[in-house]
Each structure stands twice: as C-alpha cells, then as structure tokens.
C-alpha cells in the first residue's frame, strides 16, 4: 500500500513538531484517521518526525487502545469489567467466540467481525454488556447474544 500523504497526515506531523501533541497523540490521531495504525503510515510518520519506528511499536503494543490490524466491519466488544464479570461476562465472551468463530482479540478472515474485550465501559447497571460499533446492548445472556450475532450476520449478508 502506498501512503498518500494527505493534508491530515501532514497536520498530524505539524502538531507534533509544534509541541502540541505527544507521540501517543500522534498515534491517536493516526488511529482516528485510519481506524488502526497502518505499518506504512507509521513508517512514513516515523521518518518525518525522526523517531525510530521501534518506539512506535513499543507504545502500540503496550497500550490497549492501539491496534496494528484493521478492524472488522462489525466491532464487537464484550465488557469484562468486574460488575459484568460477576454477572456472567465470561459466558458472554465464550458464546461470542463460539458464534463468531474467532477468539477475543481476533478479526475474522473475511474482515467482517472483530471481537474484543474491554475492561469497563462504565455502564455497569446494564451488565453484562456488549457494544457493537459503539452501540450498547445491555443485560445480555447467552440466548440474547446468539440472537444478536444472528442479526449481525443478517446485516452483513444484506450489505456485503
């Protein structure tokens, strides 16, 4: 993939050079723009701001909010915070893994689904809870999850 050096990318670099953002800020800006941290973009930016790419890699793999792979069309996040956990979040994750046929942290080969766990989204009254592309689905159980996955599959098949 050739990187188009967009104006946006240039402004990300400028903000860093001007001392208005940190390296983490740069990575957040790139994630915002591309949905993840594409290797080519990181290389390009690293070159421009003269920071070794290994530093980017180290930060990207330390913090949980960065990803080095593109995200699936349906981004399914199961909350595994303590409140959800004591209400059975582990079973929700298992069901999702089984129904989506991917492990938590993976994206399906067809690029349709990404399954992740999150440590708390702070909507504990609704636990166990999952979010799909930012939308909340609260008070889940195994049956509701299976139904939710079915409806996601339906949506994907209608809009491939």
């Amino acid at each position: 993939m050739a990187v188009e050096v967009t104006e946006k990318l240039q402004s990300i670099v400028e903000r860093y050079r001007g001392g208005k953002s940190s390296l983490i800020g740069v990575m957040q800006d790139i994630s915002q723009e591309y949905g993840y941290l594409p290797e080519e973009v990181l290389k390009e930016v690293a070159g421009r701001i003269e920071v070794p790419i290994s530093i980017f890699y180290s930060l990207a793999t330390f913090y949980s909010s960065f990803r080095l792979e593109p995200i699936g069309k349906k981004h399914v996040c199961a909350c595994v915070g303590t409140a959800c956990h004591v209400r059975g979040a582990a079973k929700i994750v298992e069901t999702l893994e089984r129904d989506l046929q991917i492990e938590a942290g993976e994206t399906s080969k067809d690029g349709n689904y990404t399954l992740e766990t999150v440590n708390c989204v702070g909507a504990c009254a609704l636990g166990p809870l999952v979010t799909v592309n930012g939308e909340y689905y609260g008070k889940m159980d195994q049956k509701k999850i299976s139904r939710l996955v079915k409806s996601l599959r339906q949506e994907i098949s209608e809009n491939p």
Binding site: A83, V86, L126
Partner: protein
C-alpha cells in the same frame, strides 16, 4: 466576554430562577423543568429518544412556555434509567420508554395527575414513592462532589454559575492568599479520593514549596494534573462527575493551580469515555470564553489553562509517575520515588496530581469552609466518598455517602439488597487493588483506616457486590489475571509474581489444586506486596489474600474435594437433567451449541457428558428448572 469577579454574581442573579427551580424551592416559579438524565447509563438505555418524545409532546400540547426539557449528567440511579425528574416538585419517573411519554405529558402536565405506574416502588406490590428525595436510594446519600448531579445542564456554564459555581474561584483570587487556600484545604481534612488517601492540602504544600529554577522564556515552572483515567473495572465515579458537572472539576483545578503556583494543568482522561471527553472540551471552551481559564483570570494576575490528554488504555497509569510518563509520550512505567512528583514530575518540574473527585470537592470546601467539611465523616476520614455500587445489587448506581457509614447501609439500605432473593456473599472495594469483605464485616465503617484493617482499601470507589453464586476463588483469579495483564513488566515481583499466582489460581479453579497451594499463594502475595516497585504491584495480591482470609473454606473445597461450592468453575461441575422436572420441551436440545442433548419431544432429555462443553446454555434456557448443576 471576559468576566470580572462581580459578573459572577450578576450571572447568578440573572439565572436565579434556575437555582430556585432545581433546588425545589421555586414553588412560586411558574415554569417547570424536566430533568432528563443523559449520563452514559441512561443514554445507552435510549434516554435521548425519551427526551425527543418529551419535546414533541410538550409542543403538541403547546406547553413549551411553561415546561422546559433540560438534559443533565448522571442522576446516579442507573439501574432504573432512563430517568426524568420534575422540578421544582421533585417527582421521579423511571424506566421510561418513548412510548410512555404521550400519556405522561398529558396526565401530569395537562391534567395535573402524576402517573403512578412510572414511579419508583420499593417492591412490586408496594405503594409508589413519588418524590425523589424520599426514595431510600437517595435519602441516605449526602452530596458534595456530586452536588450538582442531575440538576445542572453540564453543557451550560450559566447554569453552573447560577447554582453557585465559580464563586469559590472568585473568592480565592480576590480575597485569599495562596497560603490561606492551602491552610483551608489542610484544615478540611480532605484526603485524595483516588485510592491512597494522602492528605490533599499537604500534597499541595509540598508542590507549592518545591523550588524551581525558572529560566527566562522557558516553559511553566509547575504543573497540576487531574487523573481521570479511571482504570478500575466496575467503577465510573470520575466519568460521572465529568459528564454531569465538568465545571466543578475545572474550578477545583483552577483553585489548586492558584494555591500551588502552577500556570498549566492537564486532564488525563480515559479513552473509553467519549461523552465525558466531549462535555469536558465544551466546558473548557466556555470557561475560556468567560475568562475563567486562560490569561489573567477574572482580570487578576493569575493565568492558568488546561490541556486535555486522552488516555490510551493502561491501568498502570493510575500510578502517578506512570501517568506522568504517559503524558510525556513515553511508556507508562512507574519511577522509583523519591523524588516525588511534587519535586520532579512532568518534564522534571514540580507537579501535583489529584483525581477528579478530589478536585471536585475543592470549590465546596472554599465556599462552605473547612469547618463544615471536617464536621462530616470520621476522625481521620473527612467528608464524603463517591462509590459506584454495582454487581449483584438491586439499586445499581452511583452513590455519595458520608465517611463512616457502614457497608451494610450502603449495600442494603441504599443498594436495596441482593436481587432474586439470593444471599449476600461479599463486597469488593478498591478494584483490583482492593479486597473482598465478607458478611461478618458488613458493619465496618467506610473510612480509609477501617478498610485497610479489613485487608482492602478505599480505592477510587468501585464497590462490587457478590452473592452466593459467585465463586471467590474464581473472583481472585479474575483480579490477578487483570493485574497480570496490566502489569507494566518493569519490576520482577509484579511481572513474575502475579504470573505465578495466576498459574496457581488457574490450577485450583481447574481442579488441579495441590495441598500447600494456599500457603504458597499467601507467601507469594506477601512478598509481592513488600517488594513491588509501585502501587499496582503493592496491592495486586489483595484480592487473593482477602479471599483466602475470609473464604478459605472455598479454596479448600476446590483443592481437597475438587468441588466448587458456588458451582462456577467449569472443570468442577457437571450439568444433568432431572427427569422429574423435564417436560421434554426440547428447548435445551435446540439451543445446545454442541448438540449433545438428546431426547424425543415430551420425553426426558439426557446430556451426553463426553461432549458437554459446560457452557450453561441448557441451564439458562430451561423454563422448568430441570437442569441441575452439581
């Protein structure tokens, strides 16, 4: 428009009706405010659709001059959202759907008949409690940090000022010296609400007195930071304050910056809180417009501004030196202290860090005085504490209670006890750094020292209730798995120690526990506590050590009898079908993901144990209580 100190008062007077209506004292006012909760919990439950329906119905009945719809931050009673509170009369409506609204508006605001079926009831058949203040969930709370929750529109600075906001900032800038501010905070007895409970005034004083060499034309000499990277899973106090009353945080920070002598501040906010971030940015802009942040605040010599920095997801950032590292764009690894941030923090400059709740208490202490604040609470723990009360409890939500209240009062009086008639087992405070407190200690008063004595910590305010269906060994494994994952890896006690503890706990929950495991866990836990570099490691063993201390019998059952008393640990349970109850409805067979349940319609079904993956699906779908877990 840049304000002068006197302008604060005039904005207040201009908006006097806001405070009259919201405080419930505005009976003489002709208008009614409908306060719609728009905290994350209620928004997830579609409260914005409820709001749209309210606006539409009010217009339909041409009531818009008399009835106003106001969106507020988190009301606190998340379990019963979406919530609408009618002010000034304090009627509380809950669990609303857009479909309820036409009837509600017509009955209450056209016909003058409040709608009972949408009100709170303590139990199904009991009479409704119409007024918010009379509902037990609210009546035992005492609000300071959350004083404006649910009554202020977080997106309108004028409302915050109308309710007394920025008065404290004006007061310190015009009437108090920096020393006086610090003395006031010291005298109030306020301690850090982020976990460790260090006296706030003292912390400020260290930073104020730290000497710096200020080079000409160089960056600011001192910094303050607000830690809003609420990392505890199951805790959402700080998010709620930022969402419902962002100006309280900004005002508290500005006061602190004045006292310390800092000209720049940072708010490090958790990335998973988009709504809080949005409201915060909006509040910052409004405050700058009014000259309450920026150059020459309120036309005094004091200048101060704030930068918001979004966290990238690392629990260890709760540790102050890690957070500073992250702000500097580095890996958030803790540093050896001393030097403390008060001497050498952000960019090597003296830095003071407090969390959201601590900052939010500050304006109230200035307004009402140290004496008032220190009259609340216990000898060593003053004021109130916000808790997110979650887990197996009826009234999930956010509560603010005076220090010294007992756990029992929080869980049973405010929280309404355990759902489904189950028995209470434990309450966990302090998140992954805290411990599990058993029923025998429920009368423990909530203060920093008593909680430490019980093996837990105050922490930032997560309070997770567990019932008889929770396995304490599994809960300990959960927390250690969390800290193991979040350990930054810098020091070996935490990196290796938590990993070994996790291995032992995984073995125990998998039925492979050995004699001596409990003692091994205790020994490792103690060593990690004593030798880890930072607070994360120092406290990581707490959930394990407290569950061993109070629930040793559960550990023994797993290890010796290969039995999980709560029937949670998969390796130690089997699912069977009770022929006496099975009606042959086929629900279990249809839903079994591995098709290991056989049986004809209207005949008893049987689970093939060799194929069963113990997912529990059959148990959850059976309507006849025929699936047994042993």
């Amino acid at each position: 428009m840049k304000l002068k100190p006197v302008d604060i008062q005039s904005i207040r007077e201009k908006n006097a009706s806001v405070s009259a209506i919201r405080s419930g004292k505005g009976a003489a006012e002709k208008t009614i405010d409908l306060l719609v909760c728009a905290g994350t919990g209620c928004v997830s439950n579609h409260s914005l659709k409820v709001k749209a329906a309210l606006i539409a119905e009010i217009q339909k009945h041409e009531l818009q001059d008399r009835v106003k719809v106001v969106t507020t931050g988190c009301n606190g009673f998340c379990a019963n959202g979406p919530i609408v509170v009618v002010k000034p009369d304090d009627t509380f409506y809950q669990l609303l759907t857009p479909e309820d609204i036409p009837h509600l508006v017509e009955e209450h605001f056209v016909n003058g008949r409040p709608v009972e079926k949408l009100m709170y009831r303590p139990a199904e058949k009991q009479a409704p409690i119409p007024k918010m203040a009379s509902i037990p969930f609210f009546s035992k709370q005492q609000l300071i940090a959350l004083a404006n929750r649910g009554i202020v529109d977080p997106e309108r600075i004028d409302e915050y000022i109308a309710l007394g906001g920025y008065q404290a900032l004006a007061k310190v800038l015009t009437e108090m010296s920096r020393e006086q501010v610090i003395e006031e905070i010291k005298a109030s007895g306020l301690r850090g609400r982020g976990g460790a409970g260090f006296p706030t005034g003292k912390k400020w004083e260290f930073c104020k007195n730290a000497r710096v060499v200020q080079e000409e034309g160089s960056e600011p000499a001192k910094y303050i930071i607000c830690n809003a990277d609420e990392g505890d899973p199951g805790a959402f106090m700080d998010r709620s304050i930022v969402e419902s009353d962002p100006h309280a945080l900004l005002e508290g920070m500005a006061i602190g910056a004045y006292a310390i002598g800092a000209s720049h501040g940072f708010i490090y906010i958790r990335g998973e809180y988009p709504l809080a971030l949005e409201r915060l940015n909006q509040a910052l802009e409004q405050a700058r417009d009014y000259g309450l942040l920026g150059e020459r605040i309120l036309e005094t010599d004091f200048s101060f501004d704030i930068t918001v920095s979004k966290g990238a997801g690392a629990f260890v950032c709760g540790e102050e030196t890690s957070l500073i590292g992250s702000l500097e764009g580095k890996l958030p690894e803790p540093r050896v202290r001393p030097p403390y941030p008060a001497q050498s923090g952000y960019m090597g400059k003296p830095t003071n860090i407090n969390n959201v709740e601590t900052w939010a208490n500050v304006p109230h202490i200035i307004n009402r005085g140290a004496e008032w604040f220190s009259s609340i609470g216990t000898d060593t723990s003053k004021g109130t504490k916000v808790f997110s009360l979650v887990g197996k409890v009826n009234n999930t939500g956010l509560v603010e209670v005076p220090m010294g209240i007992t756990m029992r009062e929080i869980v049973f009086d405010i929280g309404g006890g355990i759902p489904g008639g189950k028995n209470f087992k434990a309450v966990q405070t302090g998140g992954p750094s805290g411990g599990c407190i058993p029923e025998s200690l429920l009368d423990t008063p909530v203060d920093y020292e008593s909680l430490i004595q019980a093996g837990s910590i105050m922490g930032s305010g997560g309070m997770i209730v567990m019932d008889e269906d929770n396995c304490m060994v599994e809960v300990a494994r959960y927390f250690i798995a969390f800290t193991q994952e979040e350990s930054c890896g810098k020091c070996s006690p935490c990196r290796e120690g938590t990993w070994h503890m996790l291995n032992v706990l995984e073995d125990i929950t998998a039925g492979k526990g050995r004699e001596g495991d409990i003692e091994l866990l205790e020994k490792m836990g103690q060593q990690i506590k004593e030798t880890a570099l930072c607070g994360l490691g120092n406290t990581a063993p707490n959930p394990v050590l407290t569950t061993i201390r109070y629930f040793r019998d559960e550990y023994e059952a797993h290890i010796r009898d290969k039995r999980c008393p709560a029937k949670v640990c998969k390796a130690l349970i089997t699912y069977t079908i009770d022929p006496g109850n099975c009606t042959g409805c086929t629900a279990c067979a249809k839903n079994c993901p591995v098709a290991c349940i056989s049986g004809e319609r209207k005949q008893t079904h049987v689970i093939n144990q060799d194929q069963c993956i113990k997912c529990g699906m059959c148990y959850s779908v059976c309507n006849f209580d025929a699936v047994r877990v042993e």
